[in-house]
């Protein structure tokens, strides 16, 4: 049963360094949500007082969030997750653009799978897609973007910051190019919100997910400018301005608004604090032989460190760390582990032994420097152990 508001929370006594995969819901958020699971359970579409109470909470959350994103309330469309928001943005605009004779979209090669696979599905329906390359640090190549846009292009989608390597993209510049060429610009800001200040003035659509910022799983949103017409992905009762049907998850949305509010409030302090831990991790990890830092050395999220350790396989590193009570990840925590190396690392031009030997450590508000010290001690041992078993390492030494 819910026991209240510890300031420092921990699950299963682990050192949790997988905050890009998901985060622990904050106590304040759980407390904000509970009344809407319990006593205030009305359907926001119902006319009676219980319904109107839910409606009011929903609209207050929407207004708060709109404020934080420098948008209008009717530009905030709640949905179930960032995967849905990204599918919605791309497909919703694609089906609308088709009517205007446009059939080309541009996405970066290092987008999250929910953008990439949506783009591929649109390709299967006859749309054309340009997969924009990135440089060795994962930064989108602006000149190639400019070249790729043509008169059939209806959308450019580039994430604000990458979930695996933490690289921050030149969103302002991309938005400017899109504005000049009169193409809509969508950005997946799931990993960026609450970690770095966002400049959204020229962003036409933006995706966010609550569970990445200490909110609950199962809630996301698409910010979509009013001037942009898109088709719904979920048809039905006409909720969310007719753009996303389905009974609103009021508790989740209230929690989302709370989580966003707190994330922004703590951002100045937390991003500095986490960057210090990140830098320590980087410093120590790079002392391990044949290691490299993936992503941009400077333009990176304050909470992301991503390494390649040649001849130590990623999954095995993660599982060894797990044995030491450290929760980490190899690349993204998407669906169940697949066989291919990360498409993001491949796009950076990593060699096979590097791409397969990657480790992502992502910090959060509950991490402490002592934990990082411990990780810095354990990590070299783990890498060493795995290399001991590897045929390649022995070959070298």
């Amino acid at each position: 049963m819910w026991k209240g508001t510890a300031k420092t929370k921990k699950g299963a006594n682990m050192i949790y360094l997988d905050n890009a995969a998901t985060t622990q819901v904050r106590s304040e958020v759980i407390e904000a949500m509970l009344p809407f699971l319990d006593k205030k359970y009305g359907n926001a579409s119902s006319l009676h007082s219980l319904g109107q109470e839910a409606k009011t909470a929903l609209e207050e959350s929407r207004a708060k969030i709109a404020d934080m994103l420098e948008a209008e309330p009717d530009e905030i469309i709640f949905c179930s997750c960032a995967t849905e928001a990204n599918n919605f943005a791309l497909k919703g605009l694609a089906f609308e653009a088709k009517k205007q004779g446009k059939d080309h979209l541009i996405v970066s090669k290092i987008e999250h799978h929910c953008v990439l696979h949506t783009a591929e599905w649109l390709e299967s329906l006859g749309f054309r897609v340009t997969y924009l390359p990135v440089d060795e640090y994962g930064v989108v190549k602006l000149a190639e973007l400019e070249e790729a846009i043509n008169e059939k292009t209806f959308l450019v989608s580039v994430m604000y910051a990458n979930n695996e390597i933490g690289t921050i993209e030149p969103i302002k510049e991309i938005a400017k190019i899109c504005e000049e060429k009169d193409v809509a610009f969508h950005s997946d800001a799931v990993q960026a919100f609450g970690k770095i200040p966002l400049d959204l003035k020229k962003v036409d659509m933006l995706s966010l997910s609550a569970h990445k910022i200490y909110g609950p799983k199962g809630v996301g949103l698409l910010m979509k400018r009013k001037h942009l017409r898109i088709q719904p992905l979920l048809h039905g009762g006409g909720h969310e301005f007719g753009l996303r049907s389905g009974t609103e998850n009021v508790a989740g949305i209230v929690g989302f608004a709370k989580a966003m509010e707190l994330a922004l409030k703590e951002m100045p302090r937390e991003s500095k604090r986490q960057a210090r831990m990140r830098d320590k991790l980087i410093k120590h990890a790079l002392q391990i032989p044949e290691s490299r830092l993936n992503g941009h050395p400077k333009k990176r999220l304050p909470n992301n460190a991503n390494f390649s350790f040649r001849y130590a396989e990623g999954e095995s590193i993660v599982m060894k760390l797990n044995e030491h009570g450290i929760a980490a990840s190899t690349g993204s925590a998407c669906s169940s582990p697949k066989l291919e190396p990360s498409h993001v690392l491949l796009a950076l031009g990593l060699a096979p032994s590097e791409a397969h030997g990657s480790l992502r450590l992502t910090l959060g508000r509950y991490n402490r420097m002592e934990e990082i010290d411990y990780v810095c001690k354990v990590l070299p041992e783990v890498i060493e152990e795995l290399r001991e078993i590897s045929p390649f390492w022995h070959k070298k030494s």
Partner: protein, 164 residues
């Protein structure tokens, strides 16, 4: 996703390492796929005068399943006659580990392949007749390797660049 048995082998793998002057070596997998196994066998005779795998060691680069299957194959094969070792199947390995996640089944294949390749190597080096089934298997493994090297040529080039 992994059974406790798999994790036990992952935590304390048996027979890892290298045999100097091995009777046969099997090298399977490829760095582009993320799993590479080298398996060494020392062949000797048992009390009945049969040819058996006296010693076995392995070196593996790969995921938890790759390490666990290497370990369990080495445990099972150790002491087996060559004949019996050739009958070892990946079903047996998977069963021994109390199952593997579907995406990881290929790892069990890889471990059995490594063992059989080591036996092939041993038989060939000693100019011994090679059972048809084994010869076919060897052919398949080598063909697959070639195909992967061809398909991922660019990717492997990057690796070579690193070696410099």
């Amino acid at each position: 996703m992994y059974s406790e048995k798999v994790l036990e082998h992952f935590r304390k793998p048996s027979n890892m390492g290298k045999i100097k002057n091995a009777s046969g070596i099997g090298k399977v997998g490829n760095i582009v796929c993320g799993d590479v196994m080298w398996l060494y066998i020392k062949v000797g005779e048992n009390s009945k005068g049969e040819e058996v795998i006296k010693d076995i060691k392995w070196q593996t680069f790969g995921c938890v399943a790759a390490l666990a299957t290497s370990s369990v194959v080495s445990e099972l094969a150790k002491g087996m006659t060559i004949e019996n070792a050739l009958e070892l199947s990946n079903e047996k390995i998977v069963k021994e580990l109390n199952g593997l996640p579907p995406v990881k089944i290929h790892c069990s294949l890889l471990a059995v392949d490594a063992l059989h390749e080591a036996i092939y190597d041993y038989l060939e080096k000693h100019n011994r007749p090679i059972p048809e089934k084994l010869a076919k298997k060897h052919e398949r493994i080598q063909k697959e390797l070639k195909e992967i090297e061809k398909r991922y040529k660019d990717f492997l080039e990057l690796e070579k660049r690193l070696e410099k």
